[in-house]
Amino acid sequence: MKNLLKIISVVYLLSLSAFADGDSLFSEKWGVHVTWAGGYTHYDAKDLNDVMQALEHQSSTAAGLNQYEVGSFHGHPMLAATIGVYREAWELALELEFWVEDFHQSEIPFYMNRDLDPRFPAHAHISCSDVLAPGFTPVQGGTAGCIQAEEVFTIVPITLQLSRHFSFWRDRVWLGVGGGAGVLAGNAKLKVQTEFVGKDARPNDTMKLTLYPGVNPVFKVFSEAGVKPLRWLGFSLQGGYRWSGMKYVEISEKKGDSFLFGLALGGDSKLSKGNRAYLIRTSNGQGDILVLRDAPTTAEVTQAKLAGNQYSLVKGDFSGWTIEAKVNLWWGIHSH
C-alpha cells in the first residue's frame, strides 16, 4: 500500500512539473473521455412495492402459510460507465447504468391439513424446516411442503448525454452540467421451486420466468464537480435526477411449471408467455391482489369497476435522484 502511494505521489509530482509551462489540463481541442462510477440511485417504484405488499397479503390469507414478510425497495446501489468524445468544454457521451437487485424468499411453508394437526396450534409459527424434517408426516394423509422463491431484477438505463464543463485553477477543478435521453432496458428473472411432502404428493416442481418490461424512455439531468490531478486522470462527484419507468411487466420466457404459484397468481394453474402482471386494486382497504394473466376482458373491467375495484397494469416508476463517485480518464486527440 505504501509503495502504491509512493508511485501515485511520484506520478502526480511529475505531472505537475509537466504543466509547469502553463498548459491547462483541458488543453486538447478533441479527445475521448471514459468514466467508471459507483453510487446509489433512489426511486419510488410504487407499483413494484405494491406487488410485494400484494404477495404478502395473498400469502397471509392462505391457510397454513406464514406471513410472507417483504420489505419495500426504494433504490439500489448502482454502477455506471460512460464513453464520450469532447470538444473543448462540450462533451457527448453514452452512459450505461447497471442495477441488480436480488430478492430471496426461502421460508414459504404450506400444510393443507394444518388445522387438524395438534402439533401446530392456531397462529403457531410453522417453518419449512418443520415440514421438511425427516420423519415429519402430515396428518390424515395430507400434503405439506415448502416453496423457495428467488427474484433478480436487472435494470439497465442507457442514455446519450450532452454536457458542458467549466474549469478553474488552470483546469485542475471543474464543474459540469448536462442532460441526456435514452431507453430503460432490463428484465426480472423469477425462480420458484416447490417441494411437496406427504403420501402420494405431487412431484416437486420448478418454474423459471423471465419478465420483460419492454423498452421505455429515460431522461436525465445532472451536475458534476471534479478535480483533475493529471492530464489524463480525474475524480468527480455527480448528482442528478432521472425520469424513467416501465409501462408493463410481461412474461417473455417460461420454463417448467409451478402448480401452487400458478394457482395462486394465475388466472388458471398455468401461466404462459405473454401474460402480464396486474394488480387488482381494491377500494375497500383489503389490499391489492396480484395476478399474472392476459388482458382483462371488457366484462371483467366493468365488473371490477362496479365493485369499486380496478385492474391495473403493474408499471415501474424508476424516477428519482442519483449520486455517483466517478473515476475519469481522458485521451486527448488533437491539441490546440
Binding site: H57, A62, M112, Q140, G267, G285, A299, E300, A307, G308
Partner: protein
Amino acid sequence: MRHITSKLTSLVLCLLALHACSDSTSVTKPATKPIKANVGVQAVQAGTRTDSLTVVTLNMSVGWQAEDLVVKKLDDSLVVYTAMKDLYTQYKATLPSLRMMIQAQALKAHPADVIALQETQVMMAGDTESFSFVDTLLADLATIGGPTDWTIVRQNLNPITLNVPDSVGNRMKLNFWEGNVFLIRKGLTVLDSTSAIYNKAVNFSILAQPVGSHRGYEKIKVRTPGGATWQVFNTHLEVELLSLYNLEQGQELNSAAWDAWQALDTGAQVVVGDLNSLTGKGGVGSLTGSSSGFVDLWPLAGVKDSIAGWSCCIGAPQGSTQNYDRRIDYILARNFVRVANMERISLLQGEEWASDHAMLRATLVQQF
C-alpha cells in the same frame, strides 16, 4: 383445531335474538338506481304496505378435506384410488345421516320462507350406495314433523365420476357432486329461477379427466303472500386460500346482482351464502363496498365481529370444545326497511357438529 371452553360453546348455542334498527335511515330504491343510495334502513312510511321474508343460509358440509386432492399425483390411478377411498372414509366418518337429522331439527325449530343451502353433496359409491344431503334432509324433516312442502331449485356443480382400480384389481366406483340448493316454502310464488357458473374457476385434472372447483350462484325471484317481490341469490365462493378467485367471483356475483337489480321493478334483493371471505375482504368486499351497496345484516343488527358473530369453521366433526373462529357466512340485502330478526344457530348436538358452519337466519321487512 381451536380449543375453546365448554362455557363458550354453550354460550354460542344461545340464539341471538337481535332486532332492529327501526329508527335508522332510508334504503328505498331510487328511480335512477345510483348504487350508493341503497344503504341503510328506514322507518315504514304511513300509507304503504309491508311484507316480510325469513331466509336461512347453511353450508351443509363438515370436515371435507377435498382441497388436499389437488396436490396429489392425480395422474396415477393407484394414487387416485387411495385418495378417493380416504376421502370416502372421511366422509363416512362425519356421520352424514346424523348430521342431516341435526340440521333438520334446527330447520324445524327455526322455520324459514327460503332456505339457501351450500355444499349439498351427493355421494354414490359402488353400484348401490347413494347418499344425498338434501334428499336426506327432506326425509328427516318429514320424519320429525317439520315442513315438507317445498319448491326445490338445485344447482349441481363439480361432478366427478371415477371407476379406478387398485393394485390387485379392486375397483372404486364413485360419483360425486355438490352444489347450491334453494328450498322455497309453498305459499311463496316463484316468479323466476336461474343459475350461473362463475367464469373464474380452479381447473385441474384427475386421470386426464378435466375437473375443477367450479363455483356458481342460483337466483330466485319470489312473491311473498303479502304481495312483495324478493330476489334472492345463493352462492358459495372459492376458499380464502385462493383470494384472487374469491375476489373475482365476488365481482361477478355483484355484477349479476346489479343487472338483476336494474331489471327489478320493485322489491328487495338479498344475497346469502358462504362467501369464504372475512368482513370487507375479497368477495364480500366486492358486494358491500361503497360502490356496491349491499348491507351486511350482522353489523346492522348490532353484532360485532367477535365470537358472538362468527359462523365458521369447526375443524373436525366431533368435539364440543371447538368453536367458530371467523365469520364468512353472510346475509346481505338492499331495498328493505327493517331487519325484524337476525340470529345465528349453532349446530352442535352432544359431541357432534352437524356442519362446520353455523346456520344464519334473518327476517327482512320491505315496504311497497
